[in-house]
């Protein structure tokens, strides 16, 4: 099992590095999906098939697809890749990666000098997961439920239909006040603002 663990860990690290270095967002997301799959594999090799399956269903199967969905909608082209290329200069990444390397060296030092503990693999079946989730960690589950509820309410609020957009001839509303303040004026202002920004 530990061989599988190390292989999938290496795959995870390699694919995550690829995520950072790809210039094209969709290719980067593909590597991210591979990274999640290998994390799922790591869970499987550690004896947690339930978490592994959930990792693939939720992260690889839904969240990354939504990311790709958004990237597809943004219609990023060659220019974005070029921009990425310009941003990813050595002077940006050399210092953080040097710091991370220090941490890695420390971790390796600890791993090899510390107590030689053999990797424990114990099967965690869905029943155990369920019992600990709804017994020991029930407060956490409920809090996460609240958090998700807030997210759903927010999404529903954002996605709520605004008042129907009217043709510009009909736009000068029903009330006297709206008639007095033409809508066109505002558009002009916003245009000026964008011009200033550019």
């Amino acid at each position: 099992m530990s061989t599988l663990f190390y292989i999938s860990s290496i795959v995870a690290i390699a694919s995550t590095i690829m995520v950072i270095t790809r210039y094209h967002p969709v290719h980067a997301l593909l590597y991210l999906a591979v990274s999640f799959l290998s994390v799922g594999m790591i869970f499987l090799s550690l004896g947690a098939p339930f978490v592994a399956a959930l990792e693939i269903i939720v992260y690889a199967g839904a969240i990354i697809v939504l990311f790709i969905f958004v990237v597809m909608m943004l219609n990023l082209g060659q220019e974005t890749a070029q921009q990425e290329k310009e941003w990813l200069k050595p002077k940006v990444w050399v210092v953080p990666s040097a710091l991370v390397l220090v941490l890695l060296a420390e971790m390796l030092l600890l791993l090899f000098t510390g107590s030689q503990q053999v990797m424990q693999v114990s099967q965690v079946d869905p029943r155990k997961v369920a019992l600990s989730l709804y017994g020991e960690y029930i407060i956490a589950v409920e809090l996460i439920g609240f958090l998700l509820m807030a997210g759903i309410v927010g999404a529903a609020h954002i996605g709520k239909h605004r008042k129907p957009s009217l043709h510009r001839f009909l736009q000068n509303g029903d009330t006297e006040k709206e008639k007095a303040m033409p809508v066109r004026e505002q558009e002009v202002i916003s245009n000026e603002q964008t011009v200033l920004h550019d």
Binding site: P49, L54, V65
Partner: protein, 318 residues
């Protein structure tokens, strides 16, 4: 189980599945024709079965064209994912006692995981084609499949509650006395609907809707790459039918005068026929109708079903 036996099962299952998927081309064309008062392909070979061979040869010899504006590697990757993910799902399906490739503890979750990976083929294929119709198809496919994956998973949880296991073999064994379609009729109907949406079969073939999007996400594909999408679709039908049979119709169980495998195959083909009948009879809903139907109606029903099933299961156990 010895290693040779295991390899034999793997190769056998793969061989039979690919042949069923190819044979479905003929089955579907004949059945559709019969339901439309036509005869369908009946020339090549006895009853026209060799039309499968002719179709395959045609697909092999077609020009395998990769458009210059496409993202080449992603374009090639997409059709491989669809067949790969569906074939991997078959790993957990028990065809008969002892005939299962991998008797996983988390069989249902594995199936859900693999079917959720199937989305990638549509999304990547549509995006890599660099074609606006393909992109529209991919967008529709992604939202449709992610939405219906949720209901598919939730509709199965009733079965999991009643049988107390994620293992498909155990689930079949739990239906010894009563098929789960009797105790979980709502779950069955919703799993069936979600299964159609998940395999993007008609009437929910919104990602490829010929009359609106040419061929949707695989508009740019030709040759055997298109063939992979084609085979993937038929494998998907077989997979969903096999899952329905396993989860709700007692898998291999049946009166003893036929071997278990035969019962499984009979039930399997009944549901494949039902899929084709759906294609022959029902019109395609609009895209927003499908999604709002899912989130506004099916989600409520499936959650209520889950709640009631859980309550009854608790009550029965005291």
């Amino acid at each position: 189980m010895s290693a040779t036996e295991h390899i034999l099962i793997v190769v056998g299952v793969l061989f039979v599945l690919l042949n069923i998927a190819a044979g479905l081309i003929w089955v579907e064309r004949r059945l559709l024709a019969l339901w439309q008062d036509r005869l369908g392909p009946n020339r090549a070979g006895p009853l026209g079965v060799l039309i499968v061979l002719a179709d395959t040869l045609k697909l092999f010899f077609k020009e395998d064209w990769i458009p210059p504006f496409a993202d080449k590697w992603v374009f090639i990757l997409a059709p491989a994912i669809v067949v790969g993910s569906v074939l991997l799902s078959f790993v957990v399906i028990p065809f008969a006692p002892g005939i299962v490739v991998a008797d996983l503890n988390i069989g249902i979750l594995f199936f859900l995981a693999m079917s959720s990976l199937g989305v990638y083929s549509i999304v990547l294929g549509g995006w890599a084609s660099n074609n606006k119709y393909a992109l529209l198809g991919a967008l529709r496919g992604a939202s449709q499949m992610i939405a219906y994956e949720v209901f598919m998973g939730l509709s199965l949880m009733g079965v999991v509650m009643l049988s107390g296991s994620f293992n498909l073999g155990d689930i079949v064994a739990a239906q010894q006395n009563l098929w789960f379609v009797v105790t979980q009729p709502v779950g069955f109907v919703i799993f069936f609907i979600a299964g159609i949406a998940e395999t993007h079969r008609l009437p929910f073939d919104i990602p490829e809707a010929e009359s609106e999007l040419i061929a949707g996400y695989h508009a740019e594909y030709s040759g055997m790459k298109f063939g992979m999408f084609f085979i993937g679709e038929y494998l998907g039908i077989t997979l969903i039918s096999a899952m329905i049979v396993t989860l709700f119709f007692g898998g291999w169980l049946g009166p003893a005068f036929l071997p278990p495998l035969a019962w499984f195959v009979i039930k399997l083909f009944f549901f494949i026929g039902l899929f084709i009948l759906l294609r022959a009879s029902l019109p395609r809903p609009r895209y927003d109708q499908l999604i709002s139907y899912g989130w506004k109606i099916i989600l409520a029903i499936v959650l209520a079903n889950l709640l009631i099933t859980g309550a009854i299961a608790l009550w029965l156990r005291g």
